[in-house]
């Protein structure tokens, strides 16, 4: 029995662990090693260069610029997404007031949830094509078309959403928010469902309005979910590769003139386009470190005393 059990355990674990080691863990480990070499990828000859890649990174204006863009994303994407998702989640779950004086979601909340969540199941590649068309820089683009109709933009000089250094990052943020709000709305809804109704109803009897019941009840009891959302959105803001590389100009995106560059696009360009594998690995390590720092800082910054209910 015992012997058979061990054979069974080993048999069941063998393939998954092997796959995981070969394709996930080992490459992760190798990245650290390669980041200390001048490896160019094609040849197997490379030499150890110590921290040279990292030193070069710090002097690489494109990469340091990209870090700042990631930081901009890091500041705005979580805040906007979470605020909108919280607002909608509250409206859908506790915004309505029933005839009997109870608290419930507004009419049609189920429908709204289905619609809002839908972007989440779409591939980012689809989003890239969709918003490429929406942001099109002539009268045929949805946004320009509407703005020209409304008379807000001159038909002769439509806005080049993705080619205007001051606009491109905001245009990208809008896409991420559009994509993410529904997901976090559902996440917050799940958490809101677990808040006992009596608390809302007690507050209602005490004369609390919607704003009050939101800030005094919902938000404190929801803090764990908000924290999770914050960390996840933070990690997403450090990535951004797919949208930037497909929506903006240049090889692997980043245009115009590196104004929308993020760390991941610089890394991929160095790896796939210039073949500087060792250098790209160093960027990967920097990305990992920054992402870890962001997660820890965000967890710390949003830490509150946990409220049991």
């Amino acid at each position: 029995m015992r012997k058979g059990q061990y054979r069974f355990v080993a048999g069941f674990l063998l393939v998954p662990v092997a796959l995981y080691l070969i394709f996930v863990i080992w490459p992760y480990v190798q990245t650290f090693g390669y980041s200390l070499t001048d490896w160019k990828g094609q040849s197997q000859n490379f030499s150890f260069v110590g921290l040279d890649n990292y030193k070069a990174l710090l002097k690489d204006d494109i990469f340091t610029g990209a870090i700042w863009h990631n930081i901009l994303f890091l500041v705005f994407i979580p805040v906007i997404t979470i605020l909108l998702a919280l607002f909608f989640a509250f409206m859908l779950n506790a915004g309505g007031r029933s005839r009997a004086g109870g608290v419930k979601g507004v009419a049609g909340s189920r429908f709204y949830k289905v619609v809002y969540f839908f972007p989440q199941v779409l591939s980012l590649a689809i989003l890239a094509v969709l918003f490429g068309a929406v942001y099109r820089s002539d009268n045929g683009g949805m946004l320009n078309g509407i703005l020209i109709k409304l008379g807000l933009v001159d038909a002769g000089s439509p806005v080049e959403w993705l080619n205007e250094p001051n606009i491109v990052l905001w245009a990208l943020i809008a896409v991420v928010v559009w994509h993410g709000v529904g997901f976090y709305l559902v996440l917050f809804s799940a958490a809101m469902q677990s808040i006992p109704r009596d608390i809302y109803e007690a507050a209602l009897i005490d004369g609390a309005g919607r704003a009050q019941s939101f800030f005094r009840i919902t938000l404190p009891l929801l803090w764990d979910a908000v924290q999770t959302a914050w960390v996840y959105l933070g990690i997403a803001a450090m990535d951004m590769f797919i949208l930037v590389s497909t929506m903006t100009s240049g090889d692997y995106g980043g245009g115009p003139d590196h104004h929308s560059e993020v760390m991941a696009t610089v890394m991929m360009r160095n790896f796939l386009y210039y073949g500087k594998s060792g250098y790209a690995c160093a960027m990967g390590v920097v990305m990992l470190l920054l992402t870890l720092i962001v997660s820890v800082v965000m967890l710390r910054a949003t830490r509150r005393e946990r409220i049991e209910f």
Binding site: L13, V24, T31, G95, G108, S109, V115, V134, D239
Partner: protein, 307 residues
């Protein structure tokens, strides 16, 4: 039972039929104003989601000139030709490539993931905890960190631009979440059934395949859908791993990759309706899966973050 799923999946069912229109009994002015405001806002966001998507699908029926000319206006004639053209122009191949990969990768992910999760959740042996954390930790690191060595690993195995290579990589990268979720699920299954099966003389693997796995169906469904969506939408891994390696190496792009390829090939010059038709074709399976498994999709995706 099934704590993580139950909690989340109960939501949509519970909100539902007996809705009283929210504003009826509300006597206070503040409430009415807020209601108009909030309903307006909710409806506005719903429009913001739906309109661009509908507009894109509609644009597939227009001509190039029409698309370039104005954002508004109806297609002159409704013909499904454009979908055929998109299919022939590569979307069909990309679609089939994606399906071929997923037909193998999703079941394999589920099988291997549940096997590992089951053993880790139900058997005591040395190194169990360590192995569990080892699996879960993989979900924390950004894919980019592994990308460069992964490329050369797959190259060394001679699996660049092959279906089997992409399948194995997809499975490996889906394991952390699958193990994590199924581990939690197997722990919640009653051990009485397990013991009964063992007492009846069923072997370990028979107990797993014929007793435990069928009991885990709801969990398998949620994680399976999650993996399906994730792998269908995957873009970074195929971009790196599925490039033709030489002149006579055929293109085996997956759908996401192919769409971007199509977009970049034509820029804004040539056949935009084909691109939009391609996007429509790519969206349809997701729409069908989403609408038919709406609850499991939401539960599966959100439980990935709620630990």
């Amino acid at each position: 039972m099934s704590a993580p799923i139950k909690e989340t999946s109960a939501i949509p069912a519970q909100r539902g039929v007996d809705k009283v229109p929210a504003h009826t009994g509300d006597k206070r002015d503040e409430g009415v104003v807020l209601n108009v405001f909030s309903h307006g806002f909710l409806a506005l966001w719903a429009l913001l989601i739906v309109l661009p998507l509908l507009w894109l699908v509609l644009s597939a029926f227009k001509t190039d000139a029409q698309i370039g000319g104005s954002a508004f206006g109806w297609p002159q004639h409704w013909s499904l030709d454009v979908f055929g053209r998109a299919w022939d122009k590569g979307i069909g191949d990309y679609f089939l490539n994606t399906v071929i990969v997923l037909v193998f990768s999703v079941p394999l992910t589920m099988l291997l993931g549940s096997m590992a999760a089951y053993v880790l959740a139900r058997y005591r042996f040395w190194g169990n905890r360590l192995l569990y954390y080892f699996f879960v930790a993989g979900a924390m690191f950004p894919v980019f960190l592994a990308l460069v060595p992964l490329f050369f690993m797959v190259k060394r195995l001679d699996m660049l631009n092959t279906y089997q290579g992409l399948v194995l990589v997809y499975v490996a990268y889906s394991l952390p979440f699958t193990v994590f979720f199924m581990h939690a699920f197997f722990r919640t299954l009653p051990s009485a059934v397990f013991e009964a099966a063992v007492l009846d003389g069923a072997s370990h693997s028979r107990t797993f395949f014929q007793v435990m796995l069928p009991m885990a169906k709801p969990g398998l469904l949620s994680v399976g859908i999650f993996n399906m969506l994730g792998q269908w939408n995957q873009f970074i891994l195929p971009t790196v791993l599925m490039q033709p390696q030489s002149g006579d190496d055929p293109e085996r792009y997956v759908l996401t990759q192919g769409l971007i390829q199509l977009q970049q090939q034509q820029g804004y010059a040539t056949d935009l309706p084909v691109l939009f038709a391609g996007v429509t074709i790519a969206m349809i399976p997701m729409l069908v899966v989403y609408l038919s498994f709406q609850r499991q999709v939401q539960a599966g995706l959100t439980s990935a973050t709620l630990k």
